[in-house]
């Protein structure tokens, strides 16, 4: 009876395996949400989350205190994301993004707020981005909703993205 009961945890001599499990259960959803906000698709979010935990595991098993785990995981995730981005698109993550990431570590659980991206865009740009990205409309559905041609909607979404990108960069530099 006594032999099968779980061992007591002693401070300074933790049962690392069960500690690890509780650390994982506590952090997997917040980390996934953080990674998803920077990948925007499930396959990448799952891969990056897995890689992050696997890479962080030795450190988490040894010398990271509980309060630092979230920050360490996000730092590791940023490094993994940067690798993916560089390998896939041959470029670094934008600096304005990194700064925002640094600010976001203070409130990692907050939902993604895209109003800074959309605010200040012309009405038709904002509409096309909302239909496509937030509602997931097809180009055809977006064109119908906006009363423009399909060809027009295709071009409009690209222009809107580039304008939003330029605005974001200016915002941080200024």
């Amino acid at each position: 009876m006594a032999e099968s009961s779980p061992p007591l945890r002693v401070v300074g001599a933790p049962d690392r395996q069960s500690d690890w499990e509780s650390v994982y259960q506590e952090h997997v959803a917040p980390l996934y949400r953080y990674v998803y906000s920077r990948t925007g698709n499930t396959p990448d979010a799952e891969d990056v989350t897995s890689t992050t935990f696997l890479r962080a595991l030795p450190r988490l098993r040894s010398d990271v205190s509980a309060g630092e785990i979230g920050a360490y995981l996000r730092t590791t995730a940023r490094s993994v994301l940067a690798d993916v981005w560089r390998q896939r698109h041959g470029t670094v993550l934008m600096e304005f993004d990194e700064q925002r990431d640094a600010a976001a570590t203070a409130e990692p659980e907050r939902d993604v707020d895209v109003s800074p991206i959309l605010d200040g865009l012309p009405e038709n740009y904002r509409s096309v981005l909302e239909f496509r990205f937030l509602r997931g409309y097809s180009i055809r559905e977006t064109a119908a909703a906006m009363g423009v041609s399909v060809a027009n909607a295709k071009v409009l979404q690209l222009r809107a993205l580039r304008r939003a990108a330029a605005t974001g960069v200016r915002h941080v530099e200024g």
Binding site: Y24, V28, A45, D47, Q87, T91
Partner: protein, 224 residues
């Protein structure tokens, strides 16, 4: 539609179909692609991991060997040379290959040297803007890191200045746009890649930089 338009369109279509974006150079659209990613991530649903994924990863972690810190990279690519010095340790943590393209990684030479992202870090000013005008390379030592900052393609960048072979400190040669190793006939270009030579070396890790009003700062370990 231009080539860049078609690339950005494919990127957008993949995101909206909840697929990985295809491999393609970002060109001038790096920021636009990141805006698209943020927007797509904000759509309702999607930001919660599936229970199957959570269980599966828990099993993987449980089965991970306890004692080899390099195990996650074993079998994905050849082991990186571990040389003395903090820079190399940081690189082995920050570097590595994402698991999403294992097959591609197997066919590629060692991936980039990664970016040094110290677990506990601070920003330290290491150069004036005048010291990093195009054509110059500024050496620094801060937070246990020996590095260089310079301007490349209009952006200020930082690199470790520790050779990935045996840890000798590299000597900048601004005119030739390279960092030369004093210990062996080897050099690195300003992207951090080793120039072709007698040794096949891993690239230099990058160091994060930012510009304040009049100085260039680098993100290095905080020792205090």
């Amino acid at each position: 539609m231009s080539k860049a338009d078609r690339r950005l369109t494919r990127f957008v279509n993949a995101l909206i179909a909840n697929r990985r974006p295809p491999r393609s150079p970002a060109g001038d659209d790096s920021a636009a692609m990141q805006v698209a990613t943020r927007l797509r991530a904000a759509h309702p649903g999607g930001s919660t991991p599936s229970p199957a994924f959570v269980d599966n990863l828990a099993r993987q972690l449980r089965e991970a060997p306890a004692h080899d810190p390099d195990w996650t990279e074993a079998g994905i690519r050849r082991r990186r040379f571990l040389v003395g010095g903090l820079a190399a340790v940081a690189a082995s943590v920050a570097g590595g290959v994402a698991l999403d393209r294992v097959a591609e990684a197997l066919n590629e030479p060692a991936s980039g040297g990664g970016t040094i992202q110290p677990y506990i870090s601070t920003w330290v000013a290491v150069a004036t803007l005048a010291e990093v005008t195009p054509g110059k390379i500024k050496q620094f030592a801060a937070g246990g890191i020996q590095g260089v900052v310079f301007t490349l393609d209009g952006k200020i960048r930082g690199l470790s200045a520790v050779c990935t072979h045996q840890g000798c400190t590299l000597i900048p040669q601004a005119a030739q746009k390279r960092l030369v190793c004093p210990c062996h006939p080897m050099s690195f270009n300003l992207t951090g890649a080793a120039n072709p030579g007698d040794y096949r070396l891993n690239p230099l890790p990058a160091i994060e930089t930012r510009v304040t009003l009049d100085s260039v700062e680098v993100r290095v370990p905080n020792w205090t």
